[in-house]
Symmetry: C2
Subunit: 450 residues, 2 copies
């Protein structure tokens, strides 16, 4: 059995509904279909979910009207029953004006309308075309959410019940993005949206594959905004995919991958409008190729806290205490390169502001007795990712030679924990030229073993 | 004013006393002279301090007899007054058999006999030769030690009183290694021995130079046991010296350097028996030369704790909690390279044993919810040290190319905190060939700027 998820652009209008039906029919193993709310039809279009949020916060009749228009167009063009549209209008009216429950609950109920009716409409469309399909209400199939004060996420007990979907022979059309608490409250997932619903279902039924249909053919080896026509990645491991997501380089939210990662169910990233293209497959294990590096990603906006103290390395607990000070400011860190008498902490700059920096520097000087402590800003992190890297002697030499040929300085190198990544810290202004140099070094000349 | 310290081999016998006198007379600024206990006269010889420890622990008349023999030889060969030797015999007898005070206090009192009488004999010798010199009792000049339960170290108030030595025109011969608590108890320094006494005095009087006379002409750029005739270092900064000491590559204990480091008083490492050779000078700042790397050191016996967990970098405090677990085992760590979902902790293997490792792995898996946690052993750390490194584009490329040419793999790279070091983790069996390759890359062909 295959679990498929179709994203917002795949569900954007009646023509896309036809295309999704065609994709489903191409493989009879596609039995569980998770759908998003209708997304953008053209770049300046608005997503239905964004219109719903606007309806709620602004109590805007205009935004509500545009939601209804979107569903109305689909209903009329596909010749679906009128009462489906009446349901949208009624539910929207009811949920937007409801005063029952907390603000976040009411917002969740409004936001979920997009997915719910995307699924209801699509199930009705399939039925009208003679396909054995049913709308699968998250409440009925058992997508149980945790209750506040916990962050809204799947209740672990859900898996046992969801497994039953395995035994049905009809196609289930499942709205993504939401479920219900044991008290019957609708809650949306805080992160990962419909991707996570698909991943949960694939894990629950033990699918042979989780196909994530979106609007890209492939995951690229590098950012196409920097590299012209980058190489397309055919197969990638979960951990490679995670490292590439370091810089937001991702077509699928990495928390959404957790359920399938745990069960090592392979994931295919595919294009709804080019479904026969092989796409990119995310797997637990892949054989090594002649190319040690799978991808390359970069992000700017990093700062370094530099701390030094004579004989630091004789002090048990110095590093731990430093990280504790940073943690007490609610700040996550990325890396901590260290010498004998110094340690640096690399932090995303958006966590910092002048007051936080001053507090941290003061505490490090006073509580830890450091001699020097200061922040530097304006750094980029460049990450080389590849399962083949660990076994490739000379890879660091090749990478540093490529960087050095650009004339740029390397501010930081972090290698040795991850078996699949090598991180360079550089000045932001050098980022683009270094990414190009590394891409050329590792992707252009494919070395053929003689 | 110059403060000089003469080590054990410099005070080993009557001939060396003559040589030290000659050295002192070569520069009238040499006004404060710190001496060690008589050391080895030949490789299989025993140091007086070791004999004293044996006398104390084994209550061995044989060891005491050999201590007295050493001083007796010096006394007779230099024609010093008989009563000096009688004092040695009496003090040794009294202190070895004393039952007054705690064990560690009694041991300290015995150990200090070597330095005390080295200084008393040397002062008497200088006087007999018409030199204006006095024995400076640590109690009289004010070397005040902290009292238990604190670790025996200098009481910070000492500096003010010691400063008075500045005003005297006679040469002070100060025994190294010990001082007295405010309650009059003799205590020896736990670390750094006579080196630290010299460093304290140089800092206290604001000396223009602290000369540390020992039995080497120079600090070498690399270990002469691995590299034949390594380059001699003429000038090195305090922080370069510290980084080189990573692998025990040191002629002066780095805690002993703290007092002069704080006041940025330059230190000269010189050979008593070749005093006109320039030696190696340790300074706060030095102009950069065409050679970016000053030295190269390596040490084996490191282990790595590898920990991975999907989405680790989203967890605030993961790294801090990991370091806390290690700290609770009383273990210091060296470096913590990290990827997105993994972190490694590099630890000197002598801190570990099978039980500790098991406890740490269990806690990391259970308390931190890690998916993977294990130790690897048998690693070496190789450190390139140099003030010029930070400004040298391509240095990492040159180093990694040299390593890669040996066919060895690089297990870890740590760069980016220390401005003066670049650390490579490699397999122990590759250490020697990599040290040779790096030495050849950075020291053999001196690049002349065109």
């Amino acid at each position: 059995m295959i679990v498929c998820k179709f994203g917002g652009t795949s569900m954007a209008d009646a023509a896309q509904f036809h295309q999704v039906k065609k994709v489903i029919e191409q493989d009879p193993r596609r039995q569980i279909i998770v759908v998003s709310a209708p997304g953008k039809r053209f770049p300046s279009d608005q997503k239905v979910t964004d219109l719903l949020i606007q309806s709620f916060y602004e109590q805007s009749p205009e935004a509500s009207r545009r939601v209804i228009e979107r569903f109305s167009a689909i209903q009329s063009q596909l010749g679906l029953p009128e009462e489906l549209l009446t349901d949208v209008i009624n539910e929207l009216q009811k949920r937007v004006s409801s005063t029952d429950g907390e603000l976040s609950e009411r917002l969740d109920a409004v936001k979920a309308i997009g997915e719910e009716f995307s699924a209801r409409f699509f199930a009705a469309f399939l039925q009208s075309q003679g396909v054995q399909a049913v709308f699968a209400d998250p409440r009925d199939i058992g997508i149980v959410m945790t209750s506040p004060p916990e962050r809204a996420t799947l209740h672990e007990d859900s898996y046992a019940r969801l497994k039953a979907l395995n035994e049905s022979s009809v196609i289930h059309i499942v709205p993504g993005f939401y479920g219900y608490t044991v008290n019957g409250k609708l809650r949306t997932f805080e992160r990962g949206g419909s991707d996570i619903t698909g991943s949960i279902l694939a894990a629950a039924v033990g699918a042979e594959l989780y196909e994530n249909f979106t609007d890209v053919d492939f995951v690229y080896a590098a950012n196409p905004n920097i590299i012209e026509n980058p190489i397309q990645v055919e197969e990638i491991t979960f951990r490679e995919m995670r490292e590439l997501s370091y810089a937001g380089f991702t077509v699928i939210h990495d928390e959404a991958l957790m359920p399938v990662y745990r069960k090592q169910i392979p994931v295919a990233i595919k294009n709804t409008n080019n479904p026969l293209a092989p796409g990119t497959k995310i797997v637990g294990f892949r054989p090594l190729t002649e190319r040690p590096v799978t991808g390359l990603t970069a992000d700017q906006g990093f700062s370094i806290l530099y701390v030094s103290k004579y004989l630091m390395n004789r002090e048990l607990g110095f590093g731990r205490k430093l990280l504790q000070i940073i943690e007490e400011e609610g700040i996550s860190y990325e890396h901590t390169p260290s010498g004998l008498d110094d340690i640096s902490v690399i932090i995303r700059s958006h966590y910092l502001d002048a007051r936080k920096e001053q507090r941290i520097v003061n505490r490090v000087l006073q509580e830890l007795g450091a001699e020097v402590a200061y922040f530097r800003h304006g750094l980029s992190m460049i990450v080389l990712v590849g399962e083949g890297m660990q076994n490739s002697t000379g890879l660091a030499a090749r990478a540093t030679a490529a960087i050095s040929a650009t004339g740029a300085n390397i501010e930081m190198i972090n290698q040795g924990s991850s078996e699949v990544s090598l991180v360079f810290g550089v000045l932001e202004e050098d980022q683009v030229k270094i990414v190009r140099a590394l891409y050329n070094a590792f992707f252009l000349p494919v070395k053929v073993k003689s």
